[in-house]
Symmetry: C2
Subunit: 316 residues, 2 copies
């Protein structure tokens, strides 16, 4: 596609060290966090600025991963004397569910996002999963953003529903998984649940279905895409945020205009980047991913979902 | 499409009365069974003959449902003094899993399929879920069938694996759900699991993913289709067999030639018929379904999965 000038994307969220165990191995300490996975994924599409807190343990090797993909880290807030958010989890045999073994919020506990003017001036904004009142606060600072998407989690549905509704009301697109939608709305059906959430304002919603893919719901339409069938899932950590990065990045690359056709294509780009993410631990695969590899998988996604509909002569 | 002469489809399997409870209500006794659901679904495409046993309690109202869709019932075996297979189950809140409360095999326990010459002369054969040695026996009697598909269940994987492998080796296509594939092969990934099963001979495999849709796997390709997003799932009973009926029926309507394009289209037809099946209890919806309604939903499935892939300018 063609567009006049590059868009800028700002993401606000967690920067973390993760420890994971899967049936295939693990890592004791790897770069992670929603804002990191999102940034790397979105970096293929446009200029990305990441806003989030780190501690003294966050150093050159971690910055190097972000800079390797040209992510602007000026708004990473270094909290002196603090430690970076740490998460430890173990994946079950089916890889579609996991248990959290340890969560040390550390510097993330008192995170109050401070955006530079450049970050506030973003064209497209992604509010990764943080306390919803902070999401709303950030959203208000980025007044001129053309497209704003938000992720959240079951915790906020349970303990901060009102703040979550307020944040949702201020964005264009909400990204949740199907169990979060069911928890939020009491609706089992994806489309009905998404539409209930959209009553608060957003014009689109993405419902993530884990290893089964994702659904896009707008006022009048739905769109469904499977997860790309990789040969081997090594580590699902960050898949949802990589999806969000590819999805939001694609919309940014289309000038922030979320037409139905662009949203559908964005679903494919998100799916493609997420599929690379799960092939190795943490950010390892996406850090050395290339644009052509993403495009290749988008084309493959089209080929494994497209069918022609010649008339079959049906009786009666 | 055009074809020279009508194909005939034979299905061998259970004919049953079902009792179901769902979160939305239930039925104490309704017509069911794999062969019944398959027959009704396949009846939109070609001539269908159903082979299965019934007892004295199976009468005119039940025959009327099958005859209402022009299903040939000459090979329904009436076991005098016997009772028809009875199954009772309850669906959980998410509608994607269920518990069996009661299974009375009755006349199904000693079922030994007897095919008339007309049933043996079928062009396309579907072996619904019965003891695999019987499936193999039937398959051998239908020597000239151009396309043969088989369904099975976890029970046979556990207690009759060798017989199941023998049956699988004699068919063109196997239809199982993802948990059965994982149980059979130890593979979590759909494509890898399907290919392991295909090592025994079949050239294609359908992996049913419940409310998430289904995947088709061939030697070189995979194809994924979501479940059609109905407004309300009333009763999933028979959805898998309705899917099989639409799938196999579509292949029959294409002269039994399972090219990749036909298999993909068949996935859409199976999905469409199954989506109607779940909207009401048992056979209630499909019994009054029309061909144009099926075609309409196939087109809708295309529209909710298709996306265009213009180039997005990716960095690096």
């Amino acid at each position: 596609m063609e567009y006049a000038e590059p868009m800028s994307v700002t993401v606000v969220g967690s920067i973390a060290f993760d420890a994971v165990q899967t049936p295939h191995g693990g890592r004791e300490r790897m770069l992670g966090g929603a804002a990191v996975h999102f940034s790397l994924a979105a970096s293929f599409f446009d200029e990305v600025r990441v806003v989030g807190p780190v501690g003294d343990d966050f150093g050159e090797p971690e910055y190097a991963v972000l800079h390797g993909r040209d992510v602007n880290t000026d708004d990473i807030e270094h909290v002196a004397g603090g430690k970076t958010f740490f998460w430890k989890g173990v994946y079950h045999e089916n890889m579609n569910s996991r248990d959290t073994l340890e969560t040390d919020l550390n510097v993330f506990e008192h995170f109050d996002p401070k955006l530079s003017q450049a970050s506030k001036d973003c064209d497209v904004l992604f509010l990764a999963n943080i306390f919803p009142a902070l999401q709303l606060n950030v959203r208000k600072q980025c007044e001129q953003a053309r497209f704003v998407a938000l992720d959240s989690m079951d915790l906020w549905v349970n303990i901060a529903r009102e703040a979550l509704v307020a944040a949702i009301s201020a964005v264009d697109c909400v990204i949740l998984n199907d169990s979060e939608v069911a928890l939020f709305t009491g609706e089992r059906e994806v489309v009905a649940g998404a539409r209930k959430i959209m009553e608060h304002g957003p014009s689109a919603m993405v419902v993530k279905l884990g290893k089964y893919g994702a659904a896009l719901v707008t006022a009048d339409e739905s769109f469904w895409i499977p997860a790309f069938p990789v040969d081997f899932v090594t580590d699902p950590t960050g898949a949802g945020d990589s999806f969000a990065g590819g999805f939001v990045g694609c919309i940014a690359a289309h000038g922030g205009e979320a037409t139905l056709e662009t949203l559908k294509l964005a679903m494919a780009y998100g799916t493609a980047v997420a599929s690379y993410n799960v092939e190795e631990f943490g950010t390892e695969r996406v850090a050395r991913l290339t644009g052509p590899e993403i495009v290749e998988r988008v084309h493959e996604l089209r080929s494994i979902t497209a069918f022609e509909t010649p008339e079959v002569a049906l009786k009666a």
